[in-house]
Symmetry: C2
Subunit: 366 residues, 2 copies
């Protein structure tokens, strides 16, 4: 609970931001308050949706497992999507982004993927889920197994006000009882099950899976470990933004890939080298072609909504907060079946400027 | 000329730095003064060695040539080394770095590559030269055609006090008359000789040459244009410093490579992709191995000197100015034939720290 007086004080001092979505008035925390991390959400009456905590990364299984875990842990598939926390208030389901905003897109679509009756049985339940697929408004990449649109995968549960996740046993029981879609579970391991975990991660690497999240039975003690192929996939989908993303986006993934390959030497080194080179050069080549053909480098996003009102809310949110340059495509949202399809472009200003200058034959001093 | 009073004033205001090398007292300009750029050197009596100007880069031959040149220009080979300006004072030959320091290494070795009698005939002559090869104290890479040690290539000439380069005809005559080693000359072209220049650059690309510097007959109007293979070579030799170099080192070369490939589509795209991936992964893999084996990531440099005194001066210079972490190898300099061989390591602190933490299994939040 965060009381009204404490919340008013936080808002006044810029530590919380009051917001509304339809009839729901709420505030997101910009800084930790009363033991709740930033990204937590204060609901009417003072109930708190805790922020989703950062998960520590390990880069070496061999060295990292014994340093991270003293006993058994579960290995769950890490899905390459975006993280939402879903709850129900006054009969309405809302999905909150990591930062603590109601996400109009996720809120619009979430209940397509599970029966909201789960919240009648468990009114204070929070579903932590990943939304992934080719048609999200936030991501350029998608897990290879999701062919179209988006899917939703529940991977953690919380209860309002409690920063600790539900124990795994309780989560598994609720997933089953309410037929909730969940992230694939790959088993239970001990810190010295290096061989089995190594074999699993190499199999996931081959399948193009992002990686694993390792979780103790109880509590918030976790670690994530990603595959080499996911590092290459991330580089591939973002190569055309090379000069617009933080350079660490690329250097960290390259370093992680090198550590992964040292721990899991590939059967065909030349194939991995070529995949990495291709990941960079295909995206950059596309950027050069876009610059030549339309004079700008951008990525086109497409996503669909049930309710037109949510398209409006989504656009409004992008326009007020969207740091990067967004251009909505004319003629959208357009009706397709039961959906409103929205398309928009994110413009990559540095790539656009640098390539346009290079291709125009400008003389550059560097 | 820069008079003593003007120089004293510049030194007092931190715009020039007084220095000495053996008996030579000089000052280097930290800012432009009296029309001379930063990196210029004021010699005893006020004579000025002009700084070597930045050369503009073009990234597209097709668009860049007509925008840069209105008439004929020479195409000279760009050598992948470091730039020195060489002159003679009171019978002693000195080589100055781009920043305006006497370079102890280059000064020690320069006269092995040409007869200093050129300065008896031309006392105010300045030779602008590239020193390249596997055994330089500054560079990780080397042109493939230089098998060992270093070589020196004169590519421009100036006269003391004059910021304009000697006309090409005069330079060619002096190169010939004094048997000076020079950067290969690839001919004279017109701005519309796109086909011939394209064929030349593709041939240089295949040979692993860095690129071309294009120069008008008279004046300082130049442009440089580099090959795709030199972008990959630069990435290869510096991949093990990925987190220590500025990220732009990598992102600029990747962008340049993509523009080069768009203008000169390779015969074998897959081969170029693999070369790029290999350039990154071999260097990064070496870094991981070094971290595992010796706990630090570094590059070992080896260079040889004629005079032991110059080794001392070089070390002193590295110790006072060398931003990056340098460790001289014990037992060097050691005598080998007529030379003193010095070896030292440059430590890559970010790579060392990041890999050591990753391989130790640390949990990282990013």
């Amino acid at each position: 609970m965060i009381g009204q007086e404490q919340l008013d004080d936080a808002i006044e001092h810029g530590r919380a931001q009051p917001l509304a979505f339809g009839d729901l008035e709420y505030a997101r925390l910009l800084e930790p308050i009363a033991g709740y991390p930033r990204g937590s959400v204060v609901l009417p009456g003072g109930a708190v949706l805790p922020g989703y905590p950062s998960i520590a990364r390990i880069q070496s299984l061999e060295a990292g497992l014994p340093r991270t875990f003293t006993g058994a842990f579960w290995a769950e598939e890490k899905i390459d999507g975006f993280n939402v926390r879903i709850l129900c208030r006054d009969g309405e389901v809302y999905a909150f982004s990591r930062g603590g905003f109601v996400c109009a897109f996720s809120t619009d679509r979430a209940t397509e993927f599970f029966d909201p009756a789960v919240f009648e049985a468990e009114p204070d339940l929070v579903l932590c889920a990943e939304i992934a697929g080719p048609d999200t408004p936030y991501l350029e990449g998608s897990p290879p197994q999701i062919r179209e649109d988006v899917e939703l995968f529940v991977f953690d549960m919380m209860r309002l006000g409690q920063t600790e996740f539900l124990p795994q046993a309780e989560k598994f029981a609720l997933l089953e009882r309410h037929h909730l879609p969940s992230a694939p579970l790959h088993g239970r391991f001990a810190p010295d099950d290096l061989e089995a975990l190594g074999a699993l991660i190499r199999q996931l690497d081959d399948a193009g899976v992002e990686g694993l999240v390792l979780k103790t039975e109880v509590g918030n003690h976790r670690a994530k470990y990603v595959t080499g192929s996911s590092c290459i996939a991330d580089i591939r989908v973002c190569a055309e933004q090379l000069l617009d993303l933080s350079p660490e986006y690329f250097t960290h993934r390259l370093t992680r890939l090198a550590v992964f390959l040292a721990e899991h030497p590939p059967r065909d080194t030349a194939a991995v080298e070529r995949e990495l080179g291709q990941a960079l050069l295909v995206g950059l080549g596309d950027a050069v072609n876009k610059s030549r053909q339309v004079g700008r480098v951008s990525h086109r996003y497409r996503c669909r909504f049930r309710q037109r009102e949510n398209v409006r809310r989504f656009r409004e949110h992008m326009e007020t907060t969207g740091g990067r340059h967004v251009r909505f495509v004319e003629g959208t949202p357009r009706r397709e079946g039961d959906y409103w399809v929205l398309e928009f472009e994110r413009l990559f200003d540095h790539m656009t400027g640098t390539l346009s200058s290079a291709l125009a034959g400008d003389r550059q001093f560097d």
